[in-house]
């Protein structure tokens, strides 16, 4: 045996920057020189010829960088840098482990071949969280670690991050008897390019081969790659069997295209396409759908959607948003997504905006609206807006919004409306309160081309508007349990004066009454839009109380009350509207916060004290004790129109079964608007989902859609995923598995 601590320093040169150190474990070795790229051999017994070869046996360990080789015996030819390891060979590279009886390996190049190995590959992938889950305050799950493992006839190691496997199996199941695995004649895994390739692959589930593919490229770690994506198979009452076979074209790093042939059993074959591009100065997508002949409808049907956003620099941005469908029933006949089936208006608009973070911002927009209801909207051809704003001029702030718009609609009042509204306010702000008096002159001019309502073509309206807004901040220190909190009390008073001008002959282009709530009671007009400005002499008062975490200022609870007193009757109305005569407006109350651990409560009430009745009320309760464990109930009441109940749930029931669902409907008319029932099973390395949805569409009928999906280890999906539906419908929904790599249509 060589003496302990024998170092073959002469081979530094032969191995480039590397150094090889050989240490014999007996007797106790001294600390081996651990240089960054050194190869260190440790063993019970080391023989060899200096500078030529090493023959190590008994608990041999060869280490270099993050690679470690364990074996019973290693014959290491230092000239060719080739090691042959036999016995109980274990190769660890980073988090990957390969075991087998024999390995030939070139240490520096990290190239070699393993005979009849088993392997385990570990890669981290960031967890995907839905936008809704984030908004709902769901804790983001930790990054996902994908454990893939299996066995092979041989594994060729082709550099640090590439493996080529022959007659291999692959699964992410941890069990020795995996629920599913892929068996392939050849399997290429390239973690540098994040792509995989399988040839003659069969997919086994429960021990039975269920699918075969002669060649199956697949992305690793969710990277994009050209090729067939997993087909989707769904069923609905409007389409019958609904199968898509998307083909993804990764044209360049900054643009791609997906061709989606779609077979709709009841209607025919539709061809869909989505082209996307992403550049530093502009980004956009073009989606088209074309059905040559709808067998039910009898004609061709199509849809197009184009969105383009452009940055011109210096604060200028442009946007085109163009949407069109061939007929008004397009969405209700061909889609089961609520964002489409509930659509009545499609926007076609182009705009140029300027906002450079300076005192002036503005935009030009031209907008047409395709109405699917038969009652068309006003088009604005164009509308130009500007805002001049000087927030701080010696305690004063000056503001001047302006707009000129040309409103167009067949058989309606048509023409230009221009307004300008210069305002000046004085901001007296102190730590304990503020007072802001403000005056302005709102001037509007109509220059109409066509008039169908009675009245002149040219009209104008000038309104001086004055207000005083004042508030105080009180505080006190308190605690809840052991937590220090600060409770605030914030009274606010707002007086508004708008003189009366007769506006009955003015056309109505964009005006409608606003909701009545906390966002509106401090506004200057009870109408949205500019065609009506209600006369006002009124005081609004509110009190808000918050509970803040004293340690970090986080808002824990909030309660608010609001009241408004009118000193004069309403004289300005929209056509057909009844004027208000009462002096006391409805009282408003709101509460929101975390009332119990994992439980949030939201309350809103609009109470009518004159007739002692509730006009509008909302109760929302959500209990979310953990990931994929949420139950919520809400009740929304509007005296004159609806009583809406909304229940949603995702809950583990028994043995990894989860129930998921939502029921939403109007209990006053007993009409269901949306119902979803689903079941999810988490088999550890695979997930099964079953869901049914019933959705009221704008044709007054129900769209019933059925979803089923197998998802295997976040790598393979079969069926039609209900995940985006569930994420959209069940607030707080947690995806119980890892996401399928799907580069397109990911967020529906």
């Amino acid at each position: 045996a060589e003496p302990a601590g024998y170092s073959i320093s002469a081979f530094r040169a032969a191995l480039g920057q590397a150094a090889v150190a050989v240490t014999v474990r007996q007797p106790k070795p001294p600390a081996a020189p651990k240089e960054h790229t050194a190869t260190v051999v440790t063993a019970d017994k080391i023989e060899g010829q200096q500078d030529v070869r090493v023959d190590a046996s008994g608990r041999v360990v060869v280490e270099r960088d993050s690679t470690r080789l364990d074996a019973d015996r290693v014959q290491y030819d230092l000239l060719s840098d080739e090691a042959v390891a036999t016995g109980d060979v274990v190769l660890k590279r980073g988090a990957d482990t390969i075991r087998g009886p024999r390995l030939r390996y070139r240490v520096e190049e990290q190239v070699g071949e393993f005979d009849t190995p088993t392997y385990e590959i570990v890669r981290k992938r960031p967890a995907r969280v839905s936008k809704q889950a984030i908004s709902a305050g769901v804790t983001r799950p930790a990054d996902v670690t994908v454990h893939g493992h299996g066995q092979a006839e041989s594994i060729a190691l082709e550099g640090e991050n590439r493996y080529h496997l022959k007659n291999a199996t692959f699964t992410t199941c941890e069990a020795n008897d995996p629920a599913w695995y892929v068996k392939a004649k050849e399997l290429d895994l390239d973690f540098d390019r994040n792509v995989g390739d399988a040839t003659h692959g069969t997919f086994h589930f429960g021990g039975i081969p269920v699918m075969y593919a002669p060649a199956a490229p697949f992305p690793l770690s969710g990277e994009r790659r050209s090729g067939l994506l997993a087909p989707t198979i769904g069923i609905s009452n409007v389409t019958g069997l609904d199968v898509t076979l998307p083909y993804y074209l990764n044209l360049a790093p900054n643009y791609d295209d997906t061709v989606v042939p779609r077979y709709i059993a009841r209607r025919g074959v539709q061809l869909n396409n989505e082209f996307r591009y992403l550049n530093p100065g502009y980004v956009g997508s073009l989606r088209t759908e074309y059905l040559a002949r709808d067998e039910v409808y009898g004609e061709s049907r199509s849809a197009v959607s184009f969105i383009h956003d452009q940055q011109f620099g210096r604060g200028f941005t442009g946007r085109i948003n163009y949407n069109a469908v061939s007929d008004k029933d397009y969405f209700t006949d061909l889609s089961s997504r609520v964002t489409q089936t509930s659509t009545d208006n499609l926007m076609r608009e182009a705009s140029l905006s300027y906002n450079a973070g300076s005192w002036f911002s503005g935009s030009v927009l031209t907008q047409r609206i395709q109405s699917l209801t038969g009652s068309p909207q006003y088009n604005r051809l164009p509308v130009m807006t500007g805002l001049a704003y000087l927030p701080e001029v010696g305690g004063f702030s000056l503001k001047m919004p302006m707009e000129a718009a040309n409103f167009h609609r067949a058989d309606s009042d048509q023409g230009w409306r221009t307004y300008v509204y210069p305002q000046i306010a004085y901001n007296f702000v102190r730590p304990g309160g503020y007072i802001t008096p403000k005056i302005g002159v709102h001037a509007t001019r109509y220059a109409l081309e066509d008039r169908v309502s009675s009245g002149p073509l040219d009209e104008s309206r000038v309104l001086p508007i004055g207000s005083v807004d004042a508030g105080l901040f009180f505080e006190r220190d308190s605690h809840i349990g052991h937590r220090d909190v600060v409770q605030t009390l914030e009274p606010r008073l707002y007086y508004l004066k708008v003189p009366y001008r007769n506006q009955n002959s003015l056309p109505v282009f964009d005006s409608a009454p606003m909701d009545f709530g906390f966002a509106q009671i401090f506004s200057e007009n009870l109408y949205a839009g500019q065609d009506r400005y209600a006369n006002a002499s009124q005081v609004t008062g509110s009190v808000t109380s918050r509970l803040l975490n004293a340690e970090n200022g986080e808002e824990l609870l909030r309660t608010a009350f609001g009241v408004r007193m009118y000193f004069e009757d309403q004289k300005v109305t929209l056509p057909g509207e009844t004027a208000r005569t009462e002096q006391l407006a409805d009282l408003l109350g709101a509460f929101s916060g975390r009332v119990l651990p994992n439980t949030t409560l939201d309350l809103f009430a609009q109470y009518n004290p004159r007739d002692t009745r509730m006009e509008r009320g909302t109760v929302g309760l959500r209990y979310q004790p953990g990931f994929a464990k949420v139950a919520s109930a809400s009740y929304r009441y509007q005296r004159l129109s609806y009583t809406d109940v909304d229940l949603a749930l995702q809950w583990p029931v028994v043995n990894n079964f989860y129930v998921v669902g939502r029921v939403n409907g109007d209990i006053r008319t007993d009409k269901l608007t949306q119902a979803i029932a689903g079941l999810e099973y988490n088999g550890g390395c695979w997930v099964f989902r079953l869901a049914a949805e019933s959705l009221l569409n704008t044709s007054g009928a129900y769209t019933n859609a059925y979803y089923f999906q197998f998802e295997f280890g976040g790598a393979i999906s079969i069926g039609n995923s209900p995940v985006s539906l569930l994420e959209r419908s069940v607030v707080g929904y947690g995806r119980i598995s890892q996401p399928v790599s799907d580069p397109v249509f990911g967020s529906q």
Binding site: S342, P391, F473, D510, G553, T673, L696
Partner: protein, 158 residues
């Protein structure tokens, strides 16, 4: 009842750069309140400031909340979510990335698209103001100066 008028509560920093436009309503309010409480100078460049407020995300979303009995949208839920952090000149996190979010319910009527578009803008202005106030309260409670820990970040828990 223990309530008292709020006294000056200056931010713990000598100077701050605000990554919120001074020419937005919420940005102007934020500046006024910081000025009213005194003690902190608002500077134009992050390099001159002791700390900087960085808005990492400002996401506005509109979700269908309920449908009417014709299958049309009756209510939207409007959501606004701001993710911010406060960093010192050396890039150390005084307040790590923190989210403040709020939501409002807005009734909708397909026949009144233009009016509802303007009402929606008003809701978002009000929500943004609300969130910026909450950011200000978070900043007022920030730990400053940071303890001198070499090479490690001392990130307070959210």
């Amino acid at each position: 009842c223990g309530f008292h008028l709020r006294g000056p509560q200056p931010l713990p920093f000598k100077s701050i750069h605000l990554g919120v436009s001074a020419y937005s309503e919420s940005g102007a309010n934020l500046r006024r309140q910081i000025a009213a409480n005194g003690g902190t100078k608002i500077v134009d460049s992050p390099a001159e400031a002791e700390v900087s407020l960085v808005i990492l995300q400002d996401v506005k979303e509109k979700i269908i909340l309920s449908l009417n009995t014709d299958g049309r949208v009756r209510e939207y839920e409007l959501r606004d979510r701001i993710v911010f952090k406060v960093v010192d000149r050396g890039g150390r996190e005084v307040i790590p990335a923190t989210e403040v979010a709020t939501k409002r319910e807005m009734t909708f009527n397909d026949a009144l698209v233009l009016a509802k578009e303007q009402e929606e803008a008003q809701y978002y202005r009000e929500m943004e103001n609300d969130l910026i106030q909450r950011v200000l309260r978070r900043m007022a409670a920030a730990p400053w100066p940071l303890p001198e820990l070499p090479a490690t970040q001392s990130a307070p828990t959210r």
